[in-house]
């Protein structure tokens, strides 16, 4: 096996649907053995970019190398080594869990004896054993995700591309899935994972943030937080909700989000004393202090084009 530093290298990747540019001049590197998060609001072009990397769509411009092979010329070789989990459930709803997995094992050429072993292993790993004879169409959303994930890891691929693998998955299962991602990464599997969830983004080694098809942030997760150029202040006090509108009126403020009983305010980097100007705006009844940026702040600052009020999930 050839050892390469970057499992995916994308350069100048562009995809147009007619006039509309879904992915715009994207450069991206995914380091071997890392978990690389792919962030962006709905419709920002994550799925489209992923599909081009898997050779499911032709790029309008740019080049893609996956595992050192240029795409889409080497699509069939690449497909052999990549596990891909689609955002929308794409397995057969009229087959059972076991039949679906057996089908994937067979088209991927796993020998029968080994296939049986792998099937059992992934079903146990993903808590699917008791539903193995149930039609996929009748599974719950989370069970379907787990089945799709099982199918993607069936061949133990070197590279996993997961398009929102944890949507519809409950928090406990989500934590278990992440434990699996880390375990896979620890044995050298590279993972590209798209997500909307900030706590998941925090766990990735690297992040790329996309907005309207354009890359707006990219780098090591810690670095992105540490080098966040804007400032974040926290507003605490009794009933902070009514303050949101007046804070948002301030021209130095980029975004306001309520998080539990407190407000997080992102203030432009040009402002010399963010705590003072926010305090002056809301009066003395509330405490205001500066805090460290989180990935959510990075995401919000990078992806919002007009000032907006954010309601936390």
């Amino acid at each position: 096996m050839k050892l390469i530093d970057d499992v995916i290298v994308v350069h100048g990747l562009t995809k147009r649907f007619g006039e509309f540019v879904a992915v715009n001049n994207l450069d991206m590197n995914i380091k071997s053995g890392s978990i690389h998060g792919f962030l962006g609001p709905n419709g920002s072009g994550k799925t489209t970019a992923i599909r081009m990397m898997c050779g499911l769509m032709d790029a309008s411009e740019g080049d893609i190398h996956v595992l050192g092979l240029s795409m889409p010329e080497h699509a069939s070789q690449v497909r052999d080594q990549v596990g891909y989990m689609t955002q929308k459930f794409a397995l057969y709803e009229d087959l059972t869990i076991k039949e679906n997995l057996r089908f994937i094992a067979k088209v991927r050429g796993i020998p029968a004896a080994l296939a049986k072993e792998r099937l059992n292993a992934v079903m146990i790993d993903n808590d699917l054993v008791e539903y193995q004879s149930q039609l996929a169409g009748s599974l719950s959303g989370g069970q379907k995700r787990r089945l799709a994930f099982s199918a993607a890891v069936l061949t133990e691929p070197r590279l996993l591309i997961l398009d929102e693998p944890t949507s519809e998955v409950d928090p406990n299962t989500r934590r278990e899935m992440w434990a699996k991602f880390f375990k896979l990464a620890s044995v050298g599997t590279s993972i590209l994972i798209s997500t909307h969830l900030m706590d998941e983004a925090e766990r990735c080694h690297y992040l790329t943030v996309l907005n309207d098809g354009i890359k707006v942030a990219d780098g090591k997760t810690d670095q992105l937080k540490n080098e966040f150029s804007h400032q974040v202040v926290l507003v605490e006090g009794e009933n902070v909700t009514p303050l949101t509108d007046s804070i948002m009126q301030m021209k130095q403020v980029l975004a306001v989000a309520q998080s539990g009983l407190v407000l997080r305010v992102i203030v432009s980097k040009e402002e010399a004393d963010p705590v003072r100007i926010v305090s002056e705006n809301i009066g003395p009844k509330f405490s205001v202090r500066k805090i460290k940026a989180t990935i959510e702040d990075v995401f919000v600052a990078a992806t919002q084009t007009t000032k907006c009020r954010l309601d936390k999930e």
Binding site: G55, A75, V107, T155
Partner: protein, 374 residues
């Protein structure tokens, strides 16, 4: 290579596809019902208008030839036991009268140039039956006689087309016999079910989103097409057997001709239809579109193939069009085998057409199928 180091067998991928198709077909009640119920219902609907087990139809004969050969011809026809000669007339008009008056079921006219027609190599009919077509039973029986092979030596070689008798139906010229109707129905049913099934086979996967995972696997277009072909071939063969058996037990379809050859031709026809269906499926925008395209193929197959209207009576343009339909060639093949006892040698043009049609449609489907989402 992935880390488990699998061998990559095309056979295993094709097997995976058709096993999956079988499971899906088995679960899809509607499809399953169509496989069995369509042949059953169609055959009962059309089939009960036919009954060919007819014997001893009283006929009158006008023998204008009066030679040794013509007398032998009359004896040969009598030997079939389908007819009983009850009267000899000396003028054709008397036959018409007798048939119209219902005194005889039919009249047989042996023309003056009977011997010359026999010796000529062109395909002029030897003699004419004038039949009261309103009696479907009698007409059907005598129509079967149309293919009556008459030679002096009573042995027929494969390349020699035996002389036949023209049957002129006074009424109801659309008469059918089981030997005619059952193969025709076979063609219609196979066209209908197979193009319908296969036309949606790929579009459905596209519509349900399965394509995204299917094309992300190492499966090739050709493997996919072959994997899809196999289950429908099996379905087609089940239907063929079902129709022939039903035809035999319900409508006394005689098991004549070369059966192996008949199945071979059915198989070719099934392939041609599946190829066409897959081609439709590759090009159709969605399932509804695929259905509409299939109907677009089914209708001319029924109307122009010679199943509904006699091929020879159609205008030239319609005949050209009919030549492009697999059904036309299939009807010719089955009639050749069942009615004329034809062998492979005599059926080559139609066999080659179906084979070529299958290869062409499969090839086009494989080439046009894009392993892409857009």
């Amino acid at each position: 290579m992935n880390r488990l180091g699998f061998n990559k067998g095309a056979l295993s991928r094709v097997t995976a596809i058709f096993v999956k198709e079988f499971i899906q077909l088995k679960r899809d009640r509607l499809t399953f019902a169509m496989v069995v119920m369509v042949p059953l219902i169609q055959l009962l609907l059309f089939g009960y208008t036919i009954n060919t087990d007819v014997r001893h139809v009283p006929i009158a004969i006008v023998d204008q030839c009066q030679t040794q050969l013509s007398r032998q011809f009359i004896e040969d026809i009598k030997a079939t036991q389908i007819i009983d000669v009850v009267k000899f007339f000396d003028s054709p008009s008397r036959i018409m009268e007798a048939v119209r008056a219902g005194k005889v079921g039919a009249g047989l006219l042996i023309p003056r140039d009977f011997e010359k027609r026999y010796n000529d190599k062109n395909n002029d009919p030897l003699a004419h039956f004038i039949v009261d077509g309103s009696d479907t039973v009698v007409a059907g029986a005598l129509k079967a006689l149309r293919a009556f092979p008459f030679t002096q030596s009573s042995s027929i070689s494969a390349d020699q087309i035996p002389h036949t008798i023209a049957v002129e139906l006074l009424y109801n010229p659309e008469q059918r016999s089981a030997l005619f109707t059952v193969p025709g129905l076979l063609g219609v049913i196979l066209t209908m079910t197979l193009t319908f099934f296969t036309a949606v086979a790929l579009v459905r996967e596209r519509e349900r989103g399965n394509m995204e995972i299917l094309i992300a696997t190492p499966i090739s277009s050709m493997e996919l097409m072959i994997g899809k072909l196999i289950p429908y071939m099996v379905i087609g063969l089940i239907q063929v057997s079902l129709i022939l058996l039903l035809g035999h037990f319900l409508f006394q379809l005689p098991f004549v001709g070369n059966f192996g050859l008949l199945y071979f031709c059915c198989m070719l026809f099934i392939f041609a239809n599946v190829g066409l269906g897959l081609l439709v499926s590759v090009k159709a925008p969605n399932q509804l579109g695929a259905m509409q395209l299939s109907i677009f193929i089914l209708l001319p197959s029924i109307l122009l193939s010679g199943f509904m209207f006699p091929y020879d009576a159609m205008p030239q343009a319609a005949q050209w069009l009919a030549e492009l339909l697999p059904m036309t060639h299939f009807i010719r093949l089955t009639r050749g085998i069942l009615l004329r006892g034809a062998q492979l040698g005599g059926l080559m043009p139609d066999v080659l057409f179906l084979l070529g049609f299958f290869l062409l449609t499969m090839l086009l489907a494989t080439i046009l199928f894009k392993k892409k989402l857009d």
